[in-house]
């Protein structure tokens, strides 16, 4: 069983602190994505785990072993790079065999291991080609083959799909999920693409400014974002974020949003606000209903994408992004009825950005077992 643990890990480059203090416990066999915008520290985290960067403080463990002072080759990890980093002068076969050669695997055992990796990734017919004779997707598979041929404990993947075109990316996503299920190895995956993270991960670690924002299953992250950053970052199009106020009225919280006033379910919040509480509210585009309800909204812009349309509307001085079915007929300038699904409204403290909904502490299903 191979867990990966970051314990109060800090990384500074000179004066610049990339990661102030990171705690992260990855369970054995998980597929964890480190997700965040550029410069959030996700790649630095992965490189520290690989041993390509040295943490300034704290402890990194793979299984029971502290790896801080181990060279990358001693950590029993394999890494797939964004650029694939295939050795250009070696054939596919030599590329895959390279880690075996460097680790002193007997020459006689190598062909069978290379063949097994090639079979798994359908690289058989390509074994004698050079990397530059391969397409991007094929190079990607060779890089995966080189990573898995010696059966490392942990796989590290650094934005491995970002150089592929959209169609191939979707295909490789499916292949990676399949591969993870078959190998059952711990995988750590860095990406800035939330679609990749959502579709492939057992759990996602959302990072921002070197700090871990939320570490939970994709569903949890989508439905119960821990703070305003996660709420704004996850989901396409983004949630509508708006500042409002909550007051208690006869035991029920009432949300004032611009000129709109909504009564929320009695058990919606984890704590009863004293007097008036300043909050930030987030609403998913699909949690806003048009054509029904008591609010009046003015349509500003309609973006049809075929099976659905994204509509920007103004209601009570607040701009909402709404997702509607593709066959809904709406015109800019039109005034329409609008309603919000109150039980799906996310409420955050305006100062700290912390989630105030009562459902935050809800239990999460075992992330690894949910994959199998």
């Amino acid at each position: 069983m191979v867990t990966v643990t970051f314990d109060k890990v800090r990384k500074a480059f000179g004066e610049a602190v990339a990661i102030p203090s990171l705690d992260l416990a990855i369970a054995s066999g998980e597929f964890v994505s480190l997700l965040g915008p550029s410069g959030c520290g996700k790649t630095t985290t992965l490189r520290m785990l690989a041993g390509l960067e040295q943490p300034t403080a704290g402890e990194i463990m793979i299984g029971e072993r502290t790896v801080n002072n181990l060279a990358p080759s001693e950590r029993d990890i394999a890494m797939v790079f964004q650029s694939y980093a295939l050795y250009p002068h070696m054939s596919v076969r030599e590329n895959i065999a390279y880690p075996l050669r460097k680790r002193g695997v007997p020459k006689a055992d190598r062909p069978a291991m290379v063949q097994a990796a090639a079979d798994l990734l359908q690289l058989g017919p390509l074994l004698d080609r050079k990397p530059r004779q391969l397409s991007g997707g094929q190079q990607q598979r060779v890089a995966l083959g080189r990573a898995l041929v010696r059966e490392p404990k942990v796989f590290l993947l650094d934005e491995p799909l970002s150089n592929l075109d959209a169609k191939l990316r979707a295909h490789m996503r499916a292949e990676l999920i399949e591969l993870h299920r078959r190998l059952g190895k711990t995988m750590v995956y860095v990406t800035h693409d939330q679609l990749e993270a959502m579709t492939m991960s057992t759990r996602i670690a959302v990072m921002q400014g070197g700090e871990l924002q939320q570490f939970a299953t994709p569903a949890e992250i989508y439905h119960r974002p821990a703070n305003t950053f996660v709420a704004g970052f996850i989901g396409t199009p983004s949630m509508t974020l708006a500042d409002g106020e909550i007051t208690m009225d006869q035991g029920r919280p009432v949300l004032k949003l611009g000129t709109l006033s909504l009564e929320l379910p009695a058990d919606h919040l984890s704590e009863r606000p004293e007097g008036t509480r300043r909050v930030t509210v987030a609403v998913r585009p699909e949690d806003i209903l048009v054509g029904t309800g008591s609010f009046r909204a003015n349509v500003r812009l309609v973006e049809p994408t075929g099976h659905e349309s994204i509509v920007l509307v103004n209601a009570g001085d607040v701009g909402f992004t709404v997702r509607v079915a593709g066959d809904t007929v709406l015109k800019a300038g039109e005034t329409i009825p609008l309603d919000l699904r109150r039980e799906r409204i996310h409420v955050f403290d305006r100062e700290s950005g912390r989630r105030l909904n009562a459902d935050l502490a809800a239990a999460t299903a075992d992330p690894v077992r949910s994959r199998a």
């Binding site: 060279a71 990358p72 890494m79 650029s83 980093a85 050795y87 390279y98 460097k102």
Partner: protein, 303 residues
């Protein structure tokens, strides 16, 4: 053929004007190249068929007689051997020092940009000045090399660096390497800087050590640039004249007399312009043969 010919004829006026413009633009270059390369080349081959007295440039037709004389003489083959020894020796040192220095300058060392400029110094210094300095250092009476060696007790007597064999050849080869290795440094350093860092990281994770990374990542990436560098440096070292002429004058007893020195000797010492031209053409043939073999092999090895 017929199709392309008819296409030529039916080209429209605009295309023809562009073609004419192309010819006009390229013409000056072609004419200049003809004047400075093709004419001297043909002229040298022509001269090599005559027995010519240099001061008057007059002489009689001897056909291939000069070639029979040159290829039949032990002087030519001896000088060819000397030239090959010098070329191989100095080229080897240039490549080894050049690559080593480029690797060093590619690291994050202190004063890197200063060191990168300083390393070019030998290449910039004029050969005459460089040779004068080295002759000073090599001098057996007051040269600092012998002085230091005696001081540290390595030798008892001053070493005759330039007047004895194999010292003279070794000295010439060494000074040649010192003078020309910066060229290798520049070319290799430029290539080193373009090798993706991720290749080294991948190799590190795959278990390669310092030497593994050099032989499996760096060297294969340098192969193309080294092919060109070796090609150019071989040509230039093979026909190197001033450095050897100024350092030893070909001595002691013709032991460092390379082919270019013989050409000079024949043309202006013995006033045999015809024979000199013959030596020059022979040199060209040797180099041509070498280049063809080298390029053929390099192309075949290329992926």
């Amino acid at each position: 053929m017929t199709i392309s010919a008819s296409q030529h004829r039916t080209r429209n006026p605009l295309e023809r004007r562009y073609a004419l413009l192309g010819v006009l633009l390229i013409a000056p270059t072609v004419l200049i190249l003809c004047a400075v390369i093709v004419y001297p080349l043909i002229s040298a081959i022509y001269l090599s068929l005559f027995s010519i007295y240099t001061p008057t440039l007059k002489g009689s037709w001897v056909g291939l007689g000069n070639y029979a004389q040159v290829f039949g003489s032990s002087g030519f083959w001896g000088a060819l051997g000397t030239t090959v020894t010098w070329t191989v020796g100095t080229l080897f040192l240039q490549i080894v020092f050049g690559v080593a220095m480029a690797l060093l300058l590619n690291q994050n060392i202190l004063f890197r940009s200063l060191a990168r400029s300083l390393v070019l110094f030998p290449y910039f210094v004029s050969t005459v000045v460089a040779v004068l300095i080295w002759r000073w250092l090599f001098n057996d009476l007051y040269g600092i090399l012998s002085h230091l060696l005696i001081q540290f007790g390595v030798v008892d007597m001053p070493v005759d660096w330039l007047g004895k064999m194999p010292n003279a050849m070794a000295s010439v080869i060494f000074v040649g390497a010192w003078k020309f290795f910066p060229f290798v440094v520049i070319a290799v350093l430029a290539r080193l800087q373009t090798i993706p860092e991720q290749l080294y990281e991948a190799a590190t994770i795959d278990g390669a050590g310092v030497f593994g990374r050099f032989f499996d990542v760096t060297l294969p990436q340098l192969k193309e640039v080294l092919t060109i560098v070796i090609l150019l440096r071989t040509i230039w070292d093979f026909k190197e004249f001033d450095l050897i002429y100024l350092l030893t004058g070909g001595g002691p007893v013709n032991n460092t007399r390379t082919l270019p020195l013989i050409v000079y000797q024949q043309a202006f010492g013995l006033n045999q312009m015809g024979i000199a031209a013959t030596y020059a053409v022979a040199m060209m043939l040797v180099m041509l043969a070498f280049m063809l073999i080298y390029l053929y092999r390099a192309r075949r090895q290329a992926p």
